[in-house]
Point group: C2
Chain length 229, copies 2
């Protein structure tokens, strides 16, 4: 019976620390081995914790897995929205600003540990836990894509871009900016920093050729030099 309600949290500090450590190690192992291949003893060893403690905290391999996914989804979403907040609303150099945004999105949200792990889990176990990842789809792309689309709509409204459908433009922006990273993503790897920059640069240039203000105008200094044909 736990009646003497503590001011803030109930379990001692070390308790929550262990919980975190467990979820962290579980993420690593689940991603490396898959759900079926993951071994509770291995997770326990990697977390520096006894197997029984894992069962005390999460009760079950499956519930541990669900906790891992929820945890990753939450952290990734937070990162993505934080990055969306840096979207250039009043662009000085639109090309450079969009490239910067794309690189930040990749480095801080998609290629970092959480993003990589979440992507892997979605790919490998997505079909086994339809309801769990349907939730991700709603909370993840379902919320972030419209948010990015809204930023593009704002740029269009401000006269910096010519866009008919901001939702389509947003998805195409992401497609273009990651166009050269697809195979790496597929194989579960992390692209090097220069690869991310290269793909983002090429992607943004093409994006602006399609949606940037018509004519050379102020689109790019080098463009005027290049347009000779």
């Amino acid at each position: 019976m736990k009646l003497h309600v503590s001011p803030d949290i109930f379990p001692p500090r070390g308790h929550e620390a262990k919980r975190l450590s467990i979820v962290d190690s579980a993420a690593t192992v689940f991603c490396r081995e898959g759900f079926a291949g993951a071994n509770i003893d291995l997770i326990a060893a990697e977390a520096g914790v006894s197997r029984q403690t894992i069962y005390n905290h999460h009760g079950d391999k499956e519930r541990l897995f669900v906790a891992v996914v929820r945890d990753l989804t939450e952290r990734c979403n937070a990162g993505i929205f934080a990055t969306i907040a840096t979207f250039p609303d009043q662009p000085g150099d639109l090309e450079a600003d969009l490239i910067g945004f794309a690189v930040r999105l990749n480095q801080n949200c998609i290629c970092n540990r959480d993003g990589k792990f979440l992507r892997k889990l979605i790919q490998t176990e997505g079909e086994r836990y339809p309801e769990l990842f349907a939730e991700w789809r709603e909370q993840g792309p379902g919320r972030t894509w419209p948010a990015i689309a809204a930023r593009f709509a704002r740029l269009a409204y401000g006269g910096h871009l010519t866009i008919e459908d901001p939702d389509v433009a947003a998805r195409q922006f992401l497609g273009l900016v990651n166009a050269e990273l697809q195979t790496t993503f597929m194989l579960g790897g992390s692209p090097r920093e220069d690869e991310v920059l290269q793909s983002a640069t090429n992607g943004v240039r093409t994006f602006l050729r399609a949606f940037g203000k018509r004519r050379s105008a102020a689109s790019s200094e080098k463009q005027s030099a290049l347009t000779s044909a």
Copy 2:
């Protein structure tokens, strides 16, 4: 001792039929359950074959897996090159022709059974079999992407497109054309036919806005109405 060499093949017809059936079912189960989760008994049952027969043919769960991947890679590659052969070299209506090509590529190579399975296996087991999937990377994207790039280079040479780097353009074409199918691919699903068409249409329109001939006057919508050559 097998000395009386038969004219053509040694094992009877039924033999090879069983081998095919086994690899087929193994592909299904490996994709659904992952390597660790896949169950030889289940594969045997699905193939309508006894477990021992699987061991007779492939000897080992791991070697069975490798056989499955090689089989899928081979078939997918064949399909992709067959589709690349239909790339529009002398376009009548470039937009319609490119959309058609993109849809064929998706329907016949990426979204069909083999493509879906291979993608899933690369995603889930890519890190566990680096050498196996390095081979795929070379034989797959390493050969198909340049082939597509060559086709775009030809279009540019013929004056139908304005492209600096055909390799970049090819990757971006694929990125654009699949921009709206990413989440579905990630979750291992197959997009509906109309989704494929929609994504391809939007993608090709943007692609042509970026790389199409710069007669800005009648660039996008009215273009199809004007072209009669």
